[in-house]
Symmetry: C2
Subunit: 243 residues, 2 copies
């Protein structure tokens, strides 16, 4: 058999290996959100590759929004500032007027055995536990949606003892547990308001609501949050850009 005619299956570009190594160091906590990475030249020396190869890795991570590069300043670990949450992770817009960061009011924080949907979304079994956070969210003074967040107890240890859950939970995950949310997958349906919706959202039973089922993934593509939201869309809409 002529070896030269074979396909080289084991091939893995150097810049992808570099990206993985930088991701590993990031996950291990070498650089905190908001801090600067070493310069391209320095990383290249550290890793024993050329500066152009480091650049390709950093560019890929910038495209994934894990890093932020600023010409003349440096390369930084992305933070969960409100503007980023608003633009990257939140697709609900008011039909008219200014966009505001949603205010949250927590109704309940509890621990439970995961139900079927939580198990499937988070890859858990019946022996696991989840935290459940029920909350309402407001756009300004307008009640917008109600939702329940489900979080694996194994990852978010001690969550139940928190006195207050902030509006910006992704920043909390990052600061308290080192969990970096990088990708989100959402499934939408139109549903009818039930009795619970009526009680919490103050709308008649039967009102059409937008139901959003979200799974959030971390740096290692591990599911870390499952969320079910039910949203009134008479004055809001969900925006989606297909590129």
């Amino acid at each position: 058999m002529d070896v030269s005619a074979e396909t080289n299956l084991g091939f893995r570009p150097l810049y992808l290996q570099v990206r993985e190594e930088i991701t590993r160091q990031l996950a291990s906590g070498r650089w905190q959100p908001g801090t600067m990475l070493p310069s391209e030249q320095e990383l290249a020396r550290e890793l024993g590759v050329s500066q152009g190869t480091v650049r390709k890795a950093l560019d890929a991570m910038t495209a994934e929004r894990i890093l932020v590069r600023r010409q003349g300043r440096g390369t930084f670990v992305a933070e969960y500032e409100e503007s980023r949450i608003l633009f990257q992770f939140f697709r609900l817009y008011p039909d008219s007027g200014e966009r505001l960061f949603p205010i949250s009011k927590v109704l309940k924080l509890s621990s439970a055995t995961p139900n079927a949907r939580e198990r499937e979304a988070l890859g858990l079994d019946e022996t696991a536990t989840v935290w459940r956070i029920s909350r309402l969210r407001y756009h300004g003074s307008e009640l917008m949606l109600r939702e329940t967040l489900s979080l694996p107890g194994s990852i978010f240890q001690g969550l139940g003892e928190m006195e207050e859950i902030p509006n910006n939970v992704y920043r909390l995950y990052s600061q308290r547990w080192g969990v970096t949310v990088t990708r989100i997958s959402e499934k939408l349906k139109a549903v009818s308001a039930d009795e619970a919706d009526r009680a919490e959202l103050n709308c008649p039973v039967g009102t059409p609501l937008l139901e959003i089922r979200r799974i959030a993934f971390d740096l290692h593509k591990r599911p870390v949050e499952y969320r079910e939201s039910r949203c009134q869309t008479d004055a809001m809409h969900y925006a989606s850009d297909l590129i």
Copy 2:
């Protein structure tokens, strides 16, 4: 005044100029969808820049899904095959089972003066005309949604004389009018089925429906299609990935 301290406002990277030039030639019809572009080396010679600069331009256009690059074969103008439509431009999925390209049944094709929403979406005024295509769409044998497409009469001349509108309208736009859809923006709401929905979708008045208002843009970022869809989501969902 020290010139060296000023910011260089007029700066425009060469690879962006190259991208624009290639986009211009693409829009002018030099290469049809599915055909191969000249090699990087050849384009570099034509345009008087280095091969690396051409590569950067082609990579950017590939990221925009205008081009498709295949190692060992060449760089091709993206086509509107069904798989691309399904993955890039169509976000509705069955809750279970296989995804199918939606079958369309045209109910009506007419010409009209644009209403307020059409004027705003397509940037038209009261003196313009639009084509309106009303149709039903099926996933297999399952009726999924009803929708109306609105198209500027000035762009899609002669559309009214067509005997049949194919399922894949973006391929039609491309083949017949040289209109290349590259980006789509959608706004979603949950609404209640009205009398017209009942009649066409065969569902009770009051059923929650997912309403999708879509604007499609061409190579020059010009709006070329406005679409309002109303979809039953008891067995389907709308998928959205936030990255």
